[in-house]
Symmetry: C2
Subunit: 324 residues, 2 copies
């Protein structure tokens, strides 16, 4: 099969054997794979990963231990837990210390014609959700994770720092729970997309909020300066949700967190069922985030495009016909 | 009246006029005042405070707008809010941006024969709580604040880093909610005190926990190395309660908070009624923490003693007879 393989230095389109499902696993033919910022980080050395890249996908089950899965369109959770440790037993499988992570840690990813996945990781896509929307399930679930961690009250003022792919999804999700959602970004084009959802927007260099104004601030810029801005605008007893990870260490004094009793919430992967339900009911629109689709063998163009200005999600079309 | 006045450089025993209560305030004759680490920090320049030092006290009401308060033994909350701003209206009066703080910010403290306090700040001490216990209400309330912020489950493994005054109170309070409370400290004497409460203890240089072992880690050492230890031992999805404030900035990368979805909770002042209730029911014992009582005019000895090894709480006896 064709696969995008990263050897630690270069990403190349390679011919690999179709993987064989282990007991309890399905074989999935990939239809579309999304390019995520984490993929770009991996190409710079993040996690020291080598193997087939990619963790956002929609595909069709070709083989499975239960025949009713065969032929179904599915998406899949990226954390593959051991199922036996204390964390798995307590329902914290996304934090299993022995986990593999699709296309990120000890498990080949989905920028290939086929992948294998434990069937517990698979979620059947509702019939009214097109493939080109379903492929957004993984990042949308990450956005929904915030709702699992914080009770958002309708009167909360919410600030999302960052207008990229994940920031857009987070803003849409939180807008369902509060009318007062603001997004700070650098791109007039990306900010404009949010206005159809009645989300307030402001360019980063025009920010002029009162200090300590927001009940919830979500930092998703990927830059340390975003954390500094978040600390400026979160109110005492408020929540600072950290989605970004930063390279390297920065000088920091957490005294303000203590004095103002701020709750800093690290937030990562989220619940697929909630994300699929939002797509099924049309409560979150992902189509405006789709900036381009490239066939797998044009992956170089696709990765280049994904890093250009005013570009959000780029998909790789791995098998079948475009828009099938 | 006699008062311990800090002019920004020196602490001196001075003669000051007895303060006049404003509308809605009571005049309280101080019986005992506690020396807190914050007082020691203020003497080094923290908060740039000048005025009468001290915020932990027990006293007797001499004048009040409501006569039923007169003659009552009281303790008092240290934050004096404006009562009119958005925070005050929403019940976050401890975070009022216009607040005064007793002996810390724009308000003379309690190491003096008299203080004035808004009657809303006063709490009458239950009859079976001796003055020498009641004076611990303020730090005990700060310990109880953790219970307002986190639901402690009985199966939680809890780690308290720091065996000082506040660490001792926090460990006792959390021990009421979980059998698995560990305290790490530097003083065999202080750790020994905790054993009567069936709290597990270990010396700092003998720590040998598995990484990510604790559901809740409370950092109260006052040293940045405590935060580093906390990050090592808090489990994914666990709570890291930060009670310490540190001087200056340190290199930090919050990526681990994100990847492990840790909730970092800044924690400060707490609920007086809960603390008084614990004292009234004898559920927390503060007597083992009392290391010495000095008359006000021996304040130099008292402050010196409070910084010596194996010393916990030092009290200043301001008026009346010892042990009255």
């Amino acid at each position: 099969m064709k696969a995008l393989y990263f050897d630690g230095k270069q990403l190349t389109l390679t011919d690999l054997p179709v993987p064989t499902p282990e007991i309890g696993e399905a074989l999935v033919r990939i239809r579309y794979a999304g390019i995520c910022n984490t993929d770009l980080e991996i190409l710079k050395g993040y996690m020291g990963f080598t193997g087939v890249l990619g963790h956002e996908f929609v595909g069709v089950v070709e083989e499975a231990p239960y025949t009713d899965l065969i032929g179904k369109t599915v998406v899949g959770e990226i954390n593959i837990p051991c199922g036996r440790c204390d964390f798995c037993q307590k329902g914290l499988k996304n934090h299993c210390p022995n986990r593999k992570v699709l296309g990120i840690l000890n498990k080949d990813g989905v920028m290939a014609e086929y992948t294998t996945m434990p069937i517990q990781n698979l979620h059947v896509v509702p019939p009214n959700v097109p493939e080109l929307e379903a492929v957004f399930t993984e990042p949308l679930a990450a956005a929904c994770e915030i709702l699992e961690q914080i009770d958002i009250m309708p009167d909360y003022r919410i600030l999302v720092l960052g207008d990229g792919k994940l920031g857009q999804l987070i803003a849409q999700v939180l807008r369902l729970h509060s009318e007062n959602v603001w997004v700070v970004g650098k791109s007039p084009y990306k900010l404009k997309l949010l206005e159809q959802f009645k989300i307030h927007t402001v360019l980063k260099d025009q920010v002029d909020f009162p200090p300590q104004y927001f009940h919830v601030v979500v930092e998703v810029t990927g830059n340390w300066s975003g954390l500094e801005m978040a600390l400026r605008y979160v109110r005492p007893r408020g929540f600072l949700v950290l989605k970004s990870t930063y390279a390297g260490e920065h000088p920091f004094n957490p005294a303000q967190l203590v004095i103002n009793e701020i709750v800093l919430v690290g937030s990562r992967c989220g619940p697929f069922p909630r994300a699929l339900s939002l797509l099924e009911r049309g409560e979150v629109l992902v189509e405006p985030l789709l900036s381009g689709i490239f066939p797998l063998d044009q992956y170089e163009k696709a990765f280049k495009r994904s890093q250009e200005k005013d570009v959000l999600k780029i998909l790789l079309q791995v098998s079948g016909e475009p828009g099938e």
